[in-house]
């Protein structure tokens, strides 16, 4: 039977617990948010003794379900002050699940200054001193860690930003080549782990019992249907857009839509967009060769493979992975059109453990404040170096978009609940504005990716400028919360929105693992329940409707080229959950 592992950092003990009935049919985000809701005082300090850090693989993670190596990490966020779930793809959650663990809960508070690591195997948990790994770049420490613990382990860790308890720190997991590059990036979860004195969680899955599958026949039937839909859909199939160009294939289309935030959200089009696009990355891989790879997988068993390794002119590694959000944040949003500079900044973020979206947003805010000119790549590199060193300016930037803007006296603050906005302009694409505003996570595109119907023509077609989108936003919130619970990559949303048998496959797969017979209605009900718990946590933490708003400047500053403002009335935002 699956268990929950509870780790206490006060006395450095660990205990295995039976899974309560309430948690049996949950996984991923559904489980992390439920545990945080049940166990964490919403009014606690996120970096104090009463916060908890919760890891949960999804329902099907650890099986051979396609593209399902996702880990959800939950806690109260030091960036937003509300509940947080961030997720990443890695073999790490697959190994956790195969050890028979449904969740790992890290609680308590260290009584001394040392750094510690956890080594989790089929035989139990061992604490080991990790001071030798602190204060260094993750690229420096990873080879030695895999040498010490074995090439097939998975590693979760924080970088120096998490050690400094910065609100823009992320939690890093290894990729398929054991590179420190897969991030549960958003919301400052690295700082929460740092506050516990925990530097590393090394998981060795060897000899574990594996994931129990209650109804193998139903599971297999679902897995085959979902797999077929992923392999068929134009976006996710081998040789499709994601596979050939990575997520940055979005740069040109969002730019064409006039919705690519440029120079700290002053404009909706960037003249250098093509130079930092997925097409440009694919070209670099071709012309420079070397280690350059598009169609790279972030975890074993991914059949979409949208990650990449981008080469330097000499063929050595410049960066992995440069995502759409990353090339936008560190590129267009800072006015930088040089992929080599974007790559250098990406690698710095990955090495020191910071979220690339938040990093790009704070650099742009610093430029806005006059600390450098937009487009100055050297200055951007300098800002990240300050973060690495933990200088006073570095710590201000490390506060994230909302905090840094406040410290620097900037009015144009592209953040909701303190969290920096991702790569879609809400003034020009109204549905994603709903998502940013009402998400329990702060400005987070992944919590309701309405871009699918608004721009990509996936799951129907909706006018990007239409303001009446409460129902669209609500449905995306619920369905997304379920996908994040299932353990699948969010990109399965593209095929299952368009191909009915793929959606059936998802339901059958999860039902097969758990021994239930869910329907489409159950899926939405489960998603709704997750969102309602997150909202209840945030309300108890002090959030009101006033926090569910798009930044004021977007209501009075027209965004070129469409010259649009944020014009969705507050009541329509409140109707997303008010009417539900």
């Amino acid at each position: 039977m699956a268990q929950i592992l509870r780790v206490n950092m006060t006395d450095r003990t660990a205990a295995y617990e039976d899974v309560p009935n309430e948690y049996k049919f949950l996984g991923g985000r559904g489980l992390t948010s439920t545990i945080v809701y049940n166990e964490v005082d919403p009014t606690c300090h996120p970096l104090g003794p009463n916060n908890k850090l919760v890891f949960a693989p999804g329902i099907v993670t650890g099986t051979n379900a396609p593209s399902s190596g996702r880990i959800s990490v939950g806690a109260k966020s030091p960036l937003t002050g509300g509940i947080k779930e961030a997720n990443a793809g890695s073999n790490w959650p697959q190994l956790v699940a195969r050890l028979g663990l449904k969740a790992i809960i890290v609680e308590g508070y260290p009584q001394d200054d040392g750094w510690w690591g956890l080594h989790i195997t089929k035989d139990g948990v061992e604490f080991f001193p990790a001071d030798e790994y602190a204060g260094k770049g993750l690229r420096e420490i990873f080879p030695g860690l895999f040498e010490r613990f074995g090439k097939k382990v998975g590693i979760a860790t924080i970088g120096v930003a998490g050690e400094h308890r910065m609100a823009m720190s992320g939690l890093c997991f290894n990729d398929i080549d054991n590179r420190p590059s897969r991030y549960a990036g958003r919301g400052g979860l690295g700082a929460v782990m740092g506050s516990k004195g925990l530097k590393l969680v090394v998981v060795d899955g060897a000899g574990g019992p594996g994931v129990e599958i209650a109804n193998q026949e139903l599971y297999d039937q679902g897995r085959k249907k979902l797999t077929a839909s992923i392999l068929e859909h134009a976006l996710t199939k081998p040789g499709g857009a994601l596979n050939l160009y990575g997520t940055a294939v979005l740069v040109n289309i969002i730019n064409e839509a006039g919705a690519l935030p440029t120079r700290n959200f002053r404009e909706g089009q960037f003249e250098g967009a093509a130079k930092i696009s997925g097409e440009a990355m694919a070209e670099l891989c071709k012309t420079r060769g070397g280690v350059g790879t598009m169609g790279h997988a972030c975890h074993p068993g991914c059949i979409i493979q949208c990650s990449n390794v981008i080469p330097n002119p000499d063929g050595t590694e410049l960066a992995s992975c440069i995502e759409y959000e990353t090339t936008w944040a560190l590129g267009a949003n800072c006015g930088i059109d040089d992929l080599d500079v974007v790559g250098k900044l990406t690698q710095m973020c990955n090495d020191m453990g910071i979220d690339t979206i938040e990093a790009g947003d704070v650099i742009a805010v610093a430029m806005e404040a006059g600390l450098a000119e937009f487009g100055d790549g050297e200055a951007a590199i300098g800002f990240l170096e300050e973060v690495r060193q933990g200088t006073p300016l570095g710590r201000i930037l490390g506060m994230g978009t909302g905090g840094a803007a406040e410290a620097l006296g900037v009015v144009r603050v592209p953040a909701v609940k303190g969290q920096g906005m991702p790569a879609y302009e809400p003034r020009a694409i109204k549905g994603i504005g709903y998502t940013y505003a009402i998400s329990t996570m702060g400005a987070d595109h992944t919590s309701g990716y309405t871009i699918a119907p608004e721009i990509a023509g996936v799951g129907g077609k909706v006018d990007q400028f239409d303001i009446d989108k409460a129902e669209l936003a609500r449905n995306f919130q619920y369905s997304t919360a379920f996908i994040d619970t299932s353990g699948h990559c969010l990109f399965i949303a593209f095929p299952i929105l368009d191909i009915a048998s793929g959606f059936e496959g998802l339901i059958e797969e999860c039902s097969g693992v758990l021994g239930v017979n869910w329907t489409a209605d159950d899926i939405m009900a489960i998603g709704k329940e997750v969102i309602n718990k997150e909202r209840a946590f945030n309300r108890a933490a002090g959030f009101t409707e006033a926090a569910d708003r798009i930044p004021e400047f977007m209501k009075y500053e027209k965004l070129p080229p469409h010259d649009v403002v944020w014009d969705v009335p507050d009541e329509m935002l409140d109707a997303v959950h008010g009417a539900a």
């Binding site: 859909h233 134009a234 976006l235 499709g240 857009a241 994601l242 050939l244 160009y245 990575g246 997520t247 940055a248 294939v249 979005l250 040109n252 289309i253 064409e256 839509a257 006039g258 089009q269 967009a273 093509a274 130079k275 696009s277 997925g278 097409e279 440009a280 070209e283 949208c306 995502e323 759409y324 959000e325 991702p422 595109h445 992944t446 990716y449 871009i451 699918a452 721009i455 990509a456 023509g457 996936v458 077609k461 006018d463 990007q464 969010l490 990109f491 593209f494 080229p561 469409h562």
Partner: protein, 80 residues
């Protein structure tokens, strides 16, 4: 006749491989031509086209073009 300015992205770039990413090129069309006629003139199978922008606004394939329109043509793309 009218002249419009077309751009092909992602997998559709193979129909004009000599052009730089995002580069617009002029296309002559009969007056009253639609987006579909433009796509056909470029030798791109219409079924490969998913989203078309005319002057930064998404339009369907029956949209009628006018002189100097800027047309961005995309296959299925997405991500995030």
């Amino acid at each position: 006749m009218i002249t419009v300015h077309a751009k092909l992205f992602a997998t559709l770039r193979r129909y004009r491989p000599e052009l730089k990413i995002g580069a617009a090129f002029p296309v002559e069309l009969p007056t009253g031509a639609t987006v579909r006629q433009l796509i056909e003139r470029l030798g791109v199978p219409v079924k490969e086209v998913k989203v078309v922008f005319v002057n930064n606004i998404i339009r369907d394939t029956e949209h009628v073009l006018v002189a100097e329109d800027k047309v961005g043509i995309f296959p299925a793309v997405g991500g995030g």
